[in-house]
Symmetry: C2
Subunit: 375 residues, 2 copies
């Protein structure tokens, strides 16, 4: 991985846990939603990957800001914003909801938490969904209040996450199903804890309400985690690519629609729900999508950091560009470079031979694969 320097300012907000993250030896950050996201600690990405698959990690994912939408028209607004049917959503459920614009382009891909019948949180990726929601509501004259509450998600990820969480929050945590949440006591406060997270290794996300409790929560998890070989961590690029977890701004932008992103299960086009972009997506579906997200597995030395898209060519023909790698990393387990790319439909079949032109100028041979790569 390569790092430039990051110039700190108040605008790039510190989180409830940044002091602890620094004490734990953070080496690099990213910036998401105008806030610091730890991206590297002492371990290499490879060591971190193996650790995540075997033990448990604590991740500061406060950048997953909540956009709270509440009021008489809350359900109406949220449904208008997403292609997924939320009419049967229940309190206690988490739903992955593509947000799309009038052209069917991705605005964000948050997790929706239904807190009350007229109160929701959208746990967002990197775009100002609050402004989008506020604009829509103001323009349409909807009765809602939209705010960013003081909620700082902390993720506990890895196969030992459940046992660690039991130690802190009690046996009841085992009853929380995947993409469900329940409320648990922390030092006399009621906190939302969901079985979810940005890895495929299992785990939980604590939606800590009140950043003043941040140090206390971090320390509590950290101390309890010592017997589980806990490590400070962050979303792991190798694990994420293998798991086929997309990143908004990387694999998809407003130039992509949810069908290209493989989100078909969350796109209802039969007219049973109305939402922004319905017509556009119906047309896209009828015409057939022109590209689809795929894995690219490619040879050669471990690839450099993918900081700008790398052209993907069909076979070794430099004149036929069929996609762009937008995230990539060497997988020590597969002993190959792995990347994510939208791939043109004429070439998206698994096994299609490709050439990737990395930023280092080297041409690397590879092939198209389905997602996820992990077993």
């Amino acid at each position: 991985m390569s790092y430039g320097g990051l110039n700190m300012s108040r605008r790039i907000r510190r989180t409830a846990y940044t002091d602890r993250v620094e004490a734990a030896g953070v080496r690099g950050f990213s910036v998401v939603n105008h806030m610091l996201l730890p991206k590297a600690f002492q371990k290499s990405v490879t060591d971190d990957y193996y650790h995540l698959r075997e033990h448990v990690q604590i991740w500061d994912v406060s950048v997953q800001r909540q956009v709270e939408i509440k009021g008489t028209d809350a359900t109406k607004l949220v449904q208008w914003m997403t292609s997924r049917d939320i009419s049967k959503a229940t309190i206690g459920q988490c739903l992955y909801v593509p947000l799309v614009d009038d052209k069917g382009g991705m605005i964000n891909d948050p997790v929706l938490l239904k807190l009350e019948d007229d109160r929701y949180w959208l746990s967002i990726a990197d775009s100002d969904v609050l402004l989008w929601a506020k604009g829509l509501a103001l323009g349409a004259g909807m009765e809602v209040e939209i705010s960013e509450p003081d909620v700082s998600p902390l993720a506990v990820q890895g196969p030992k996450a459940e046992d660690l969480m039991v130690k802190v929050f009690g046996e009841a945590i085992r009853q929380v199903k995947f993409f469900r949440y329940a409320r648990f006591d922390f030092k006399g406060t009621s906190q939302v804890i969901a079985r979810s997270g940005y890895s495929k290794q299992g785990g939980f996300e604590i939606y800590l309400d009140d950043s003043a409790l941040g140090h206390d929560l971090w320390d509590t998890i950290w101390d309890a985690g010592q017997s589980f070989n806990i490590s400070p961590g962050c979303p792991n690029l190798i694990e994420r690519i293998e798991g086929g977890l997309l990143s908004y701004g990387n694999e998809m932008t407003r130039q992509n629609n949810p069908l290209e992103c493989g989100m078909d299960d969350y796109v209802v086009l039969d007219g049973s729900i109305d939402f922004i972009g319905l017509e556009a997506l119906q047309k896209i579906k009828a015409d057939g999508i022109t590209k689809h997200i795929r894995a690219i597995i490619f040879e050669g030395e471990p690839c450099p950091t993918c900081a700008k898209p790398w052209p993907v060519m069909a076979d070794d023909n430099k004149n036929i560009k069929i996609g762009e790698v937008t995230s990539a990393m060497y997988s020590p387990r597969l002993e190959k470079n792995i990347g994510l790319s939208m791939v043109d439909r004429d070439y998206w079949n698994p096994g299609q031979k490709v050439t990737v032109e990395c930023v280092d100028g080297l041409l690397r041979k590879g092939f198209v694969s389905k997602l996820p790569l992990s077993e």
Copy 2:
């Protein structure tokens, strides 16, 4: 200045000039509008400050993304978004326009360029104004097209900027008045160039339309600038604070209104225009604002980087918190630390004695001053 590492990814977009900026020895970046903003080169901030005041610098300010609003309802939408009267704006004019929400809170403080009667650019600070505008337009059913064009602003700042620009674009550039723009030829393309920029040293901003021309433009300015002692640069924190230039996300957020920010000249409350937040701002004005942006001048060793707000106390009374420093730097010219802070109305008179509690734990004595500090 302190830097952490910045983990690069496609999501944090490189600009039309990043290759050149790297070749010029950039040491640190910030992230604005999901894009890289160079923030430090080889020179110290102090040396950079003196250089900017004496010579000329080239700044990659591509992060000033343009939000293009065009169509039948373009003027209506832009006016709805800002507290400033744009009805008399002319093509060729640049206007500093506070964007406010329904509570009167700052959404952004862009520069508006009127390109045609029904086509505008908002040259934005760090928030997704495109989503805000699109949301409003969709909600209200307005006939507009909203997009982010491939425009990469490059700033040429400093007292020698005009002579340098003449060398590249000809004598006509001298006729461009402050906060006006005109079109100039660059290699057969027509480019918008404004006399503007995020410093008080004078200069221009080239709104380069077509990022493929980025290297060519940078090299042309750079080569022509050699006889003017040109240096790669970026908005200078000392110069910015002395000049009283606020930074969205630092000095102001949605929690601040434009009256607190000293933008009274751009807030029309007599009802002659209607905009989002009019009623809220009328009430705020009638009640009287409770705080106002001020400079804080304070003693002691050069202060550290202000990465989170520092409490400002009245006199040396720790129990009376009257503000928070949100940007700060040691000024070698004033031989004092200087910072920006919203200050409570009971304490905002120039000369008010204060104590600043910096992140290093040291208490520094100082006083309140009006802005700007520069002569």
